[in-house]
């Protein structure tokens, strides 16, 4: 609850500052001051082109810090409270510099355009490498370009872009191996059932069970062997990986680190 209040306060502050500067909130809000004036103009122009072409809001927000808030929740709030006037939908790219995190959030309409992790990765795999290199303008322009491509695909096909599924060679080979193994084991059991002729291994049936008496036992320690198996690292997702932890029924997209 406390976190939510912080987020709402930050978003309200952003909204107030933007409102005092312009009548409508611009699609590029560089609160982290990452862009030069010329870069800002270039990015702004590219975002506007996409927005006008598809009647959507395609925004970029940079923040130096959002406190302890999660970028995903913050970005969702931006969609709900700030960038919510696109007739055909809204999308925002949020970059938080102190956390070195990014997040792409969409509203319900554009959730059908930027479909799940594959859709988000289609944008992030092209844009995030620029963030790593410190070329924020390049990242935002690439973001705008990829949104353009996804919108074009959606308009042409009536559905969001999805990567073509590769032929599942691994599943086929695995299934064949399993089939051979099971069939071989089954054959062995069937053949074994056709004969019950076998030699006895021991004379257990003729051992007088009450006669056994342990007369001597002596255990000697020999040596110790130590092996170490490294545990798989958790919580260190690769820079290119996408988390959809803040995605819900009304929002799409995902984010990660850079």
């Amino acid at each position: 609850m406390k976190k939510l209040l912080i987020i709402l306060t930050l978003v309200a502050a952003l909204l107030l500052s933007a409102a005092t500067a312009l009548a409508a909130t611009p699609s590029l809000v560089d609160k982290a001051h990452l862009l030069t004036a010329s870069e800002r103009a270039q990015v702004q122009a590219q975002l506007q082109t996409v927005e006008q072409k598809y009647s959507i809001r395609c925004a970029v927000v940079t923040m130096g810090s959002i406190g302890n808030a999660k970028p995903g929740i913050y970005a969702n709030q931006l969609i709900d409270k700030v960038f919510n006037d696109g007739p055909n939908g809204n999308i925002v790219f949020l970059q938080v510099t102190d956390q070195r995190q990014w997040y792409i959030s969409t509203d319900r309409k554009l959730k059908d355009v930027v479909v799940g992790i594959p859709g988000t990765e289609y944008i992030s795999k092209a844009a995030v490498p620029y963030l790593k290199k410190g070329d924020e303008a390049g990242a935002y322009k690439t973001y705008a370009k990829r949104v353009d491509e996804l919108m074009a695909y959606y308009q042409k096909h009536g559905k969001g872009w999805q990567p073509e599924k590769e032929f599942p060679w691994l599943a086929v080979v695995g299934a064949l191996v399993a089939g051979v193994a099971v069939a071989s084991a089954y054959k062995k059991s069937l053949i074994a059932a056709m004969s019950n002729v076998c030699r006895e291994v021991s004379a257990d049936a003729y051992l007088d069970q009450g006669s056994f008496n342990l007369e001597n036992e002596h255990d000697t320690y020999l040596y110790t062997k130590v092996t170490s198996t490294p545990k798989p690292k958790q919580g260190h997702r690769g820079a290119g990986s996408v988390s959809t932890s803040s995605s819900d029924g009304g929002h799409g997209g995902g984010g990660g680190g850079y």
Binding site: A171, L176, A183, M194, N216, E217, T220, T224
Partner: protein
């Protein structure tokens, strides 16, 4: 000429006598007279002595004649001729036959000269299962065998069925065994970054004594050892002192694997049992492996010579004979059945297809 064999005939009507499985007495199937085993035994003891003497005399005579014959001495020793006391025909059998039936008149015939001295068994387990029960048990043995050719059961008839007393050695032994085992105990620690597994190894020495009673070892070369061990165990509580009366109507061989040769197999089985028995006392470890063969020393031990009942059933499929054996006491049937290759192929194919479909579905959803 004096008879060299003795037929057990009813003391009342003279008809051939047969011991019926499960019966306490020998019963004449013709006049119904019941005779005590002991009575028959004593009555024919004198006859057997006379027959044995006559056979000895005949063999001496026969051996002399054989010196100038085309048979080689080794062959002649294996082939022995006896005279059927019922029809007078000459019965030829091998050197180990103790009881048989005349191939001309079917009369059950004992060969008493084979019972003499060390050859006489100590015990006998009488037949409990009849010929009819043996055939029924074989039919039941065919049930639930998915690869059995349909033609095998449809056209199957038992070609031959013989009740036979098979010579066995029964070994008793008190042993003192010593075994060495390599054991290990593991401890797993999660250090956060890695899983550390520490395994400590130990050498465990164990020594103990135990007693084995009547371990059976087949004393006949011509009986397959695997078959004979497969029809185990026998219920020794029903074992009785040997009496020839029990053998009336059945075939019987004397041993041709002597006790010294048979003891090797008994030792193998004792060794394995002792090893397992001592291994069970190595407790508190995660794994236990024997390091080498268990060594044991025999204390008080004994060997008995016994005759055990076995039904031998022979059938034929595609010109190949198939032999089955049934424990004449417990009814346990053992044997190997023919396999229908097309059935095997179809079932394997079915298993393969079903597995591939299921495995593909599972893997496709996971990967």
């Amino acid at each position: 000429m004096a008879d060299t064999s003795v037929s057990y005939k009813c003391l009342c009507c003279g008809a051939p006598l047969s011991f019926r499985p499960g019966a306490e007495k020998v019963t004449c199937e013709y006049c119904g007279t019941e005779l005590e085993i002991k009575t028959v035994e004593e009555y024919y003891a004198q006859k057997e002595a006379a027959a044995a003497a006559a056979q000895a005399a005949k063999e001496a005579k026969w051996d002399t004649a054989a010196a100038g014959n085309e048979w080689e001495q080794q062959e002649a020793e294996l082939m022995k001729a006896f005279t059927c006391s019922s029809c007078g025909a000459e019965i030829v059998c091998d050197a180990n036959t103790m009881a048989t039936e005349c191939c001309y008149c079917g009369n059950p015939t004992m060969l008493p000269s084979r019972f003499s001295g060390m050859l006489k068994p100590d015990y006998i387990i009488p037949f409990k299962k009849t010929k009819e029960e043996a055939v029924a048990a074989l039919k039941k043995f065919y049930e639930g065998k998915p690869l059995l050719p349909d033609a095998f059961t449809a056209n199957n008839r038992v070609e031959a069925i013989q009740g036979m007393y098979v010579p066995f050695w029964l070994f008793d032994a008190n042993i003192d065994a010593q075994g060495s085992y390599k054991a290990s105990r593991s401890m797993v620690v999660d250090t956060g970054d890695a899983i550390m597994t520490s395994t400590s190894f130990y050498n465990c020495q164990r020594q103990g004594c135990m007693k084995f009673e009547r371990i059976p070892v087949d004393g006949s070369v011509k009986m397959d050892d695997a078959f004979m061990e497969s029809i185990e165990p026998f219920d020794y509580r029903e074992m009785v002192p040997f009496a020839t009366g029990y053998m009336a109507g059945y075939l019987a061989d004397k041993y041709d694997v002597d006790a010294d040769a048979a003891v090797l197999r008994a030792d193998e089985r004792i060794n394995k049992s002792a090893e397992l028995c001592l291994a069970q006392t190595v407790n508190g470890y995660d794994s236990v492996q024997p390091e080498n063969d268990c060594a044991f020393v025999k204390g008080a031990s004994g060997v008995h010579y016994a005759m055990v009942p076995v039904w031998i059933l022979t059938t034929r499929y595609k010109d190949t004979p198939y032999t089955f054996m049934m424990n004449g006491q417990t009814g346990e049937v053992v044997g190997s059945l023919p396999i229908d290759e097309s059935k095997l192929r179809n079932r394997m194919l079915m298993a393969f297809v079903i597995t591939v479909v299921i495995a593909f579905g599972v893997l496709y959803s996971i990967l």
